[in-house]
């Protein structure tokens, strides 16, 4: 399977956008080589600002640039962008409604060897709770390109969550992304797996294996976690009767919470099983090892789907 780094695509897309749109400026906090904003820095040095290791200053500075019509893309690791500078994001970006794009890399447990200090399993929760914020987590490199192009045109604060490791490519160049619109990758009738980021490709694989066992599940890529695609969630609950959420993030406050909130306030009875990091910090290890250790693998999704199907109050539509 072809693999693409979402951060590599981010860096390349920024360079492309920067050629057309002179209002785009980029800020980084001494991680430009890792976040790939260094590519933009090389192409347009006058529009790149390395802020040093000062994330709080970086966010507020970006907001200042935005007051003058600039479109700042601000990047560093997810743990520093969403965590270290949260109050700045809250006051200068969200409350002030400034057109700032926060694009983090190295989100989630797949950061790997650098260990818990660098594994952001809380960033979606931290960003999702902020009024005016849009939260997006692309599933592969192709979608990342579409997302970055889209948010550059979108007016308002956006948080985009990218990873360190490469993701399997699941889309082709014809893929179209729209903020707030989920993508049904595979239809199914007995359960729905709603996933984001790298977990989308795991969900696709799980669905394949489940179908070999005669279990027919739907797979939805919910790349926009906020505003979430309520319609698609209701439809999944109504038509398939059971939901599994899958994210490389804490089961608290992220996609699983968002989907549960939607179902909890609906009148559709539907069991939900959340796959995610279970309220703990990670450890050092290879990304694949950590995905297995924290139960984020294909087999975990398969088990979760079976469990959710067992817990449903109605018989399977196709059973």
């Amino acid at each position: 399977m072809a693999m693409l780094g979402t951060r590599d695509v981010y860096g390349d897309t920024l360079v492309k956008l920067g050629a057309k749109n002179k209002d785009i400026v980029v800020l980084d906090a001494d991680l430009s080589v890792s976040t790939r904003t260094a590519k933009f820095a090389e192409a347009y040095p006058e529009r790149f600002f390395n802020m040093g290791i000062a994330e709080q200053d970086m966010i507020s500075t970006a907001a200042g640039l935005a007051t003058c019509g600039k479109i700042p893309f601000v990047s560093t690791f997810a743990v520093f962008l969403a965590g270290r500078a949260w109050d700045q994001v809250r006051q200068c970006v969200c409350y002030s409604e400034k057109n700032v794009k926060l694009v983090s890399t190295h989100a989630g447990i797949t950061v790997g060897e650098d260990s818990a200090t660098h594994q952001a399993n809380e960033d979606i929760a931290l960003m999702r709770i902020l009024p005016n914020m849009t939260v997006i987590c692309p599933a592969d490199g192709i979608e990342t390109a579409r997302v970055i192009e889209t948010v550059a045109m979108h007016k308002g604060p956006v948080y985009v969550r990218l990873a360190r490791c490469k993701f399997p490519v699941i889309y082709d160049e014809n893929y179209r992304f729209r903020i707030g619109k989920s993508d049904m990758i595979r239809d199914g009738s007995q359960a729905t797996i709603i996933a984001i980021g790298i977990m989308v490709s795991h969900a696709i694989e799980a669905a394949k294996r489940l179908s070999e066992e005669g279990i027919d599940v739907r797979v939805i890529n919910m790349s926009t976690v906020k505003p979430i695609d309520v319609k698609a969630i209701h439809k999944a609950a109504l038509e398939t009767g059971a939901i599994v959420t899958a994210e490389e993030h804490s089961i608290i406050g992220g996609l699983g919470s968002a989907v549960s909130e939607v179902i909890g306030e609906s009148n559709i009875p539907c069991p939900i099983k959340r796959i995610g990091v279970k309220d703990c910090f990670g450890v050092s290890g290879k990304p694949e090892e950590l995905l297995e250790k924290y139960c984020l693998g294909v087999k975990d999704i398969i088990e979760a789907a079976k469990d959710a199907i067992k817990r449903r109050s109605r018989p399977c539509p196709s059973a």
Partner: protein, 293 residues
């Protein structure tokens, strides 16, 4: 009890007078202080001491130095002002209203559910406010961003940021101090309201900031220390800052917290409480005219 609004908006005639130097600047400062005290009492809460200490600084900026258009707050070439110590909002609101950004009568709705003037400056609904502040320590970074955009676009506007002395204890201020110097933001001028007090007591007792001038110099800034209640000294310093090339300038303004009301001056207790109606009466009497007490 007298609750009348001070003199009305600055009109054209008065503007001409201002230029001709016959204008009663002390009277304007008194009017603004009366606005502050009146609206804080009406609201029943808010920050009195730190609003009274910045009146002359705001007059110098908004009535004398800055090029801005109250009828077109988004004019791209306007000079910018960021009130990093957002709790000084009552003073800013009075000055903005008297400059015509909104009606003077709107001041009465400060902190009211019915009005738009929030307890701390909110940029999305208040004309003339560039960014929301209230959580301290962020304004200088924002000012840097605006100054950087000005350099990129080769616009000639200048950027001003006003910080509290206690606010300097926030680490982000020093991150920003490095940024301003690193990017040689000579279109930026920061001012410190050095009133020597914060919430829990004197700044020197809570977490000392001295030698404050030396600190800014060491961070690469041009630094001047002045009397923050002397319009002439503030104007001199603002002109000096404009001539500074290749580095940002810092004006440390020695001020008195609670300035203008004898029983509020240098009193830590008046940081975050509004005057009672009785205190307002006494304060307005002190500020009722002729000569500064």
């Amino acid at each position: 009890m007298s609750m009348e609004t001070g003199s009305a908006l600055i009109n054209k005639e008065e503007r001409v007078k201002m230029v001709e130097k016959e204008f009663d600047w002390d009277g304007l400062a008194r009017d603004i202080r009366r606005d502050i005290l009146r609206i804080l009492t009406k609201a029943g809460s808010g920050h009195t001491g730190g609003s009274l200490s910045i009146v002359e600084i705001l007059i110098a900026l908004y009535f004398k130095k800055m090029r801005h258009r109250p009828d077109n707050p988004d004019w791209p070439d306007r000079d910018r002002f960021i009130l990093s110590k957002g709790h000084g909002a009552p003073a800013l609101y009075s000055v903005l209203a008297r400059q015509g950004y909104f009606r003077l009568s709107e001041l009465d709705s400060l902190r009211c559910l019915c009005g738009r003037l929030q307890g701390h400056p909110y940029c999305c609904n208040t004309p003339g406010v560039e960014i929301s502040t209230g959580s301290l320590g962020q304004g200088l970074s924002v000012a840097n961003g605006i100054a950087m955009a000005g350099k990129l676009d080769q616009r000639l506007y200048r950027v001003y940021a006003l910080l509290g002395d206690g606010e300097l204890q926030e680490g982000q201020v020093w991150e920003a101090a490095m940024t301003s110097a690193h990017y040689r933001l000579d279109n930026l001028c920061a001012l410190i309201d050095y009133n020597k007090l914060q919430i829990d007591g004197p700044v020197c007792k809570i977490m000392g900031i001295e030698p404050v001038g030396e600190k800014w110099k060491a961070f690469g800034w041009a630094v001047r220390q002045i009397d923050g209640h002397s319009l002439d000294e503030i104007m001199d310093a603002l002109d000096w800052a404009e001539r500074e090339k290749g580095r940002p300038s810092m004006i440390i303004c020695n001020t008195v917290k609670g300035k203008g009301v004898s029983f509020m001056e240098n009193k830590v207790d008046y940081h975050g409480v509004a005057p009672t109606p009785r205190e307002l009466e006494l304060a307005l009497a002190e500020l009722s005219g002729g000569g500064d007490a």
